[in-house]
Structure formats: structure tokens, C-alpha cells
Subunit: 127 residues, 2 copies
């Protein structure tokens, strides 16, 4: 299958000064690649880390991808996802007409993940 | 069981200007209460939302709790958890000597949660 036909996934996280901050996102990236062999999964950040979302998507489009899914790895829908991300998407879509860009909900809007967090916390509760 | 004997859990999140941002944390709180009937689970925030962590813990101690677990609901260990939280804990412990305060890892450091996120994303990948 050629790159153009292959969908790409971008894990979009906030970013931080400490390079170690990105470790969980790298582990999610590796886990997805392990589960879906050959999946194109890249990291991108809102600030403080590289690549920026626009740069990551420019590269994917340059590589021939025409279907890109953005997964915002944020706990909840705040200003970053309600205001910053739409502005970024407007400029990205203006440059890449014809590229299908889909945005997934925030981590905190996904029932299975909320349940996994609740299960973990119930297990961690002292008795 | 009296309050003093009962452990308390504090879900510590960043906070945001948009009140809706807190919804996922309220859902986690409700899910934990549903799974562990009578569990004392409170929300607290680093900034922009109330109660602040110090206020939430002051209230729990005033209510008689002497074992408090803080669950930082952050995606990863950045400056907020490496720098801001330890400073808050130093001042809280200075005021509440004799109260046992435990801090759980960040959400992104918990294998089962990373797996739940990876599973969700693999399922969301376009084919």
C-alpha cells in the first residue's frame, strides 16, 4: 500500500520543558505501532516541544498522506482544544485543501479511558 | 466507621477557565464513588478552578481524615508535578503533621491507562 493510501495518526499533546514529559506519549505511539503493524503514528505538540502540529502535518502530507487523524492527548476540553487547535486547523486546512483531517475527542471524553482511570484509582484507594 | 479512620482520595487536576473542562474529572469522581460505596473522593485544582489543593486538604483534615491519597490527573510528569506539587505538599505537610499524605503517579505513568488509550486509538484508526 502506498503512503498516499495509508492513513496517518498524530498524537497531539501539550508539550513541556522537561524532555521526560513526552515519555508516556512515546509509549502510546510504540503501543499503537505494535498493535497495528505499519501504522503511521507521529507525535506533535502545542508548545515547548517539537514538532509543532503544523510541521508534523506538513511532513505527513509531503510523505503522501491524504487522510490524517489527530488524537488530542489532553485530559479534557479546555481552551487549548476549543480555541488553539481550531485556529491551527484552519491554517493547516487552508494550506492542505484535499487532505482529510479528522480530530478525535479528548482523552477525558472517552468512556473506556475514564473507566480505566476509575478502576486504577479504586485499586489504589487505601483500605 | 468514623471519618478519621476513613481514607480520602483527592483527584488533583490542572484547572481551566472553562467550567466544562472539569466534567471528565467529575465523571471519574462519580465512577469511583459508584464502585466503592462511601468512598471520600474530592476534586482539587492547581489553578483557575476551585477548590485549590490546600483548601481541599484543609477541609478533609477538618473533617477528621488522617490518610489522604492525591491522584494527579495529569497526562505526564512535567513541571506542575515535579515542581509545583512538591512545593504545595511541603506547605500542606508543615501545617498537617500527623496526616499521612500519599501521591500517586501521573495518569500517563499507569500501564493499564496507557493501554486503554492505545486500544482506543487503534480502534479509531481509519483503515
Amino acid at each position: 500500500m502506498n503512503a498516499a493510501a495509508e492513513p496517518a495518526l498524530v498524537l497531539f499533546a501539550h508539550g513541556a520543558r522537561d524532555p521526560q514529559w513526552a515519555e508516556p506519549f512515546k509509549r502510546i505511539q510504540a503501543a499503537i505501532r505494535a498493535r497495528r503493524n505499519g501504522a503511521v503514528v507521529e507525535l506533535a505538540f502545542l508548545e515547548l516541544m517539537q514538532p509543532a502540529l503544523t510541521d508534523a502535518i506538513n511532513q505527513l502530507v509531503a510523505d503522501g498522506h491524504r487522510r490524517i487523524t489527530i488524537a488530542p492527548l489532553f485530559m479534557a476540553q479546555g481552551g487549548h482544544l476549543r480555541n488553539d487547535l481550531p485556529k491551527l486547523l484552519d491554517s493547516i486546512r487552508a494550506v492542505h485543501a484535499g487532505v482529510e483531517i479528522t480530530v478525535l475527542p479528548a482523552v477525558g471524553d472517552v468512556e473506556t479511558i475514564l473507566n480505566a482511570i476509575a478502576d486504577w484509582l479504586v485499586g489504589a484507594l487505601p483500605r
